[in-house]
């Protein structure tokens, strides 16, 4: 498993490639990946930029716990989480979660669990700069 909190833009595809290369050969039949990307709109407003704050230390610890839980529960071959912090622009990747397993059902369920737990519990906070001013995002969508 690997967890990265990145203060600079990241490329999900090269991070997936790099991580997968270290996994044991021939063991995984499926991987499921979710990439969250910054849109240029939210709750009806146009969003020009976004700042993501986190709790250094606790955030990484929490993301590692999510990976360990997913690995244990779905017998994963590998798990990866990358999350961006700092100043983001539209189309920037925000988050990447990925799960490698023997079968597709486990890969789908594990990556869904990972993104849901991350959204509900990992200490990150979004502040948006919209045409109407700067505002903190108050809550995540339930699913």
């Amino acid at each position: 498993m690997k967890v990265t909190v990145s203060s600079i833009p990241f490329d999900p595809w090269s991070m997936l490639e790099e991580y997968q290369q270290q996994l044991p050969s021939g063991q995984f039949g499926g991987s499921n990946i979710f990439v969250g990307t910054m849109r240029d709109f939210n709750v009806g407003d146009s969003v020009a930029e976004m700042t993501l704050e986190h709790y250094p230390g606790m955030t990484e610890k929490h993301l590692e716990k999510i990976c360990l839980q997913a690995i244990d529960r779905w017998q994963l071959v590998g798990a990866l989480i990358v999350h961006r912090v700092g100043l983001l622009l539209p189309d920037d990747p925000i988050v990447l979660v990925a799960a490698w397993s023997a079968h597709r059902k486990e890969a789908f369920e594990a990556s869904r669990f990972m993104i849901e737990d991350l959204k509900h519990s990992a200490p990150f906070w979004k502040k948006e700069k919209t045409t109407g001013g700067i505002r903190w995002v108050e809550s995540n969508t339930p699913s």
Binding site: L118, A122, W125, W136, S139, N140
Partner: protein, 77 residues
């Protein structure tokens, strides 16, 4: 005892502080620490909190050397 208290995001902005070091008496809970660290500010209804980077409850005890944090609902991902 000495504890570190951190505030994040909108809460940090509202209180005008990010991190303080608190010299406090023993046998405090997270609720007591909030009062001392914020000069009895009204507690937000949806406040989250942690002790040593693990989620905790208002009634949980705080010990010497602990790092305590208060923050609003998370919005990552």
């Amino acid at each position: 005892m000495t504890i570190t208290v951190k505030f994040f995001a909108s809460l940090s902005e509202q209180l005008g502080k990010k991190e303080i070091s608190l010299n406090a008496q023993d046998n405090l809970t997270l609720e007591n620490v909030w009062s001392q660290a914020t000069n009895n500010a009204v507690m937000p209804t949806k406040l989250l909190m942690a002790i040593n980077m693990e989620y905790a409850q208002l009634t949980d005890p705080v010990n010497d050397g602990d790092e305590v944090a208060y923050f609003p609902p998370v919005t990552g991902g």
